[in-house]
């Protein structure tokens, strides 16, 4: 066993994990507090990437691009909440799924119309576009370290906010007992809009962080959003802590599966079959985990307390 490689893959897993967490955090809050299923959360992830790419082109600075794109994505989230999402709170989950599915189609087409089908690269400044040397000749890209740090910082910030502030108290209360919060006379409309906008900004941030590695492209959010749903179901709907733990778990399973599963499978099947099966099976693993959680602990690993 190559322990150096193992550690590198752990880092890759953590990096994927924090990315998923950024997406899942907003999703789980919106779901937990508004009881709203938002498939179009992945579109906000995409929009964040496109906003950032455009702004980086204009300003020639990645950092500036991100700083400007964040409020823009939040604003977009706010507008979407105001115009469409707000009218849907009284509907059931099925309607949410359908309407937000429609929103995905609209967002994808709008991006195609505005930015074209090509996709956009986000160039990185020199100091981020390199790598650091670790032990034993292993290297790790600086930018991926930045992703990990950003993700952890956001997680810490959200934790403090949810646990120690008044707004956080309302959010916690909203996630476990919505009617009670409304009864307290809080302007629930404002709280909802705020949570939705923050969720959008976090999703956008995830998009901005992945785009320099891949690129901003149409439909980039459509697969990862399903994984983000898996994360929040495993973690327990409405729970930031659950989202964090589950995101790490899923990121780790996916990366480790891609790294080592084919070698395991080669012990029992031909190498070509193993190479075809391994990526599919590691993708399947997270759904198996979710089904197991739903079967044995339907409320997720860390459900928000008291109901």
């Amino acid at each position: 066993m190559d322990w150096g490689l193992f550690l590198i893959q752990m880092l890759n897993g953590v990096q994927l994990g924090v990315l998923l967490f950024l997406l899942a955090a907003g999703l789980t809050l919106v779901f937990g507090i508004m009881d709203f299923v938002n498939l179009a959360h992945g579109s906000l992830y995409m929009m964040g990437a496109y906003f950032c790419a455009t702004l980086v082109q204009l300003t020639d600075s990645f950092i500036l691009g991100v700083i400007l794109a964040l409020p823009l994505t939040a604003l977009l989230g706010y507008i979407v909440e105001l115009i469409i999402v707000r009218t849907l709170y009284t509907h059931d989950h099925l309607d949410h799924v359908l309407a937000t599915f429609g929103m995905i189609l609209c967002f994808d087409t709008a991006v195609d119309f505005i930015w074209g089908p090509t996709g956009m690269a986000i160039p990185l400044p020199e100091f981020l576009d390199s790598h650091i040397d670790l032990f034993g000749g292993h290297t790790f890209p600086v930018f991926r370290i930045l992703i990990i740090c950003t993700g952890l910082a956001v997680a810490g910030f959200l934790y403090v906010m949810v646990v120690h502030t008044r707004i956080g108290m309302l959010i916690r209360a909203g996630a476990s007992n919505r009617t009670m919060v409304m009864a307290l006379g809080v302007d629930i409309g404002k709280l909802f809009a705020l949570v939705f906008a923050v969720g959008a900004a976090l999703a956008g941030l995830a998009g901005m962080l992945i785009a320099p590695i891949t690129e901003a492209s149409i439909g980039m959010g459509n697969e990862i959003i399903i994984v983000a749903f898996v994360v929040i179901i495993i973690g327990g709907i409405g729970s930031i802590k659950g989202a964090f733990v589950a995101a790490m778990l899923v990121g780790m399973i996916d990366t480790m599966g891609r790294s080592f599963l084919d070698q395991l499978l080669k012990l029992v099947m031909s190498s070509e079959s193993a190479e075809t099966s391994a990526p599919a099976l590691s993708a399947m693993a997270i759904y198996i985990l979710m089904a197991m959680v739903l079967t044995f602990r339907p409320q997720g690993l860390f459900p928000p307390k008291v109901r």
């Binding site: 779901f31 299923v37 469409i84 009218t87 849907l88 509907h91 989950h93 099925l94 309607d95 799924v97 359908l98 309407a99 599915f101 429609g102 929103m103 995905i104 189609l105 609209c106 994808d108 087409t109 709008a110 195609d112 119309f113 459509n222 399903i226 749903f229 898996v230 179901i233 709907i237 070509e272 079959s273 075809t276 099966s277 599919a280 099976l281 993708a283 399947m284 759904y287 198996i288 979710m290 089904a291 739903l294 079967t295 339907p298």
Partner: protein, 324 residues
């Protein structure tokens, strides 16, 4: 008890629709465009799947976000035997129905312990597992899919290699499935299912083991979709795991809701609107997904009960029709 007997549209309109389907091949030949038959065959096959989904979604209130998986299972039940040069249609269709029913039984037994959005997500999870299972099997083409060289053979009784025969076979299947669902919904069994949708506790209190009733309903629904999948495999001659992608499960739900969940002909209507819009909008502009998505949002926000409900609403305003 909401919606057992409503058909929304007067039944004769739907019967006229089926009549149109019966004469469509003649029309296609007359306008020298036999592609029309392909279009309507796809429409009818997906209608069958939508009618199957409607049984649990519309009547039973169980929102399965993974029914495309049963289509894939049905399709591979034709494709895998064909890969080994086994073209016996009776066998293939039997496998399709049994395999879909078995998977539905196992996954349904677990999924039905959950409620609401958890049910949506767990059915999606199982569908993804089916999808990735087929993706992982190198032998049957994995992601690239599998070409079916010959359609099912029915011991000389039916030659569905001929498109006209296949067309009427599909049409007959659609009518049969509609009849089956009608019978189920109007049986005592159907009453229990609908009752459990409205108030499960009450049904349990009266003494019905609702879990078992729902599971049976779920299995029947999966089997119908498996049957539709077998038809789909025969129709397209080419199958791929991608047919089981969650997006297609979402589209099936949309078809049901668009036409009006919980009405007999609603899913057929919804599928027709979906398929025809897709076909003709996509020819007009490459940005056709936008109006399509916008329509989806508007349908959800403004019409509870889909197009069917819209007709009923218009009917009620005008003071005619609508016997709901």
């Amino acid at each position: 008890m909401t919606s057992l007997f409503r058909t929304g549209l007067p039944a004769f309109v739907m019967v006229a629709g089926l009549g149109f389907l019966a004469f469509l091949p003649l029309l296609a030949v007359w306008v020298d465009n036999i592609f029309l038959m392909d279009l309507f065959m796809r429409l009818m096959i997906l209608s069958i799947a939508a009618v199957g989904l409607n049984l649990i979604l519309g009547y039973g209130g169980m929102v399965s976000f993974g029914h495309a998986a049963y289509l894939v299972i049905g399709a591979y039940a034709v494709g895998i035997p064909a890969y080994y040069d086994i073209y016996n249609g009776f066998l293939q269709f039997a496998i399709a129905i049994l395999a879909a029913a078995t998977v539905a039984l196992v996954t349904g037994a677990i999924a039905l312990r959950t409620k609401g959005v958890y049910f949506i997500m767990i059915t999606m999870a199982f569908a993804q597992m089916v999808y990735f299972t087929f993706v992982s099997i190198e032998e049957y083409g994995a992601d690239d899919g599998l070409t079916i060289n010959m359609r099912s053979e029915f011991a000389g009784l039916l030659d569905i290699e001929d498109n006209f025969t296949l067309y009427y076979f599909v049409l007959a299947s659609l009518i049969a499935v509609l009849g089956l669902v009608y019978r189920i919904v109007h049986s005592r069994f159907g009453m229990v299912i609908a009752g459990a949708k409205g108030n499960e506790r009450r049904m349990q209190a009266i003494g019905f083991p609702t879990y078992r009733y729902r599971l049976v309903c779920y299995v029947i629904s999966g089997a119908i979709c498996g049957y539709a999948g077998a038809l789909l495999g025969n129709f397209t001659n080419f199958i791929t795991p991608e047919m089981g992608d969650w997006v297609h499960s979402g589209e099936l739900i949309f078809m049901v809701v668009l036409g009006g969940a919980g009405s007999l002909f609603g899913p057929v209507l919804g599928t027709a609107v979906f398929i025809l819009l897709e076909e003709y909008l996509s020819r007009l502009t490459q940005y056709w997904h936008f109006p399509f998505g916008a329509m989806l949002i508007l349908v959800v926000i403004f019409t509870r009960g889909g197009i069917n409900g819209m007709f009923r609403w218009i009917g009620a305003k005008a003071g005619i029709g609508g016997r709901s």
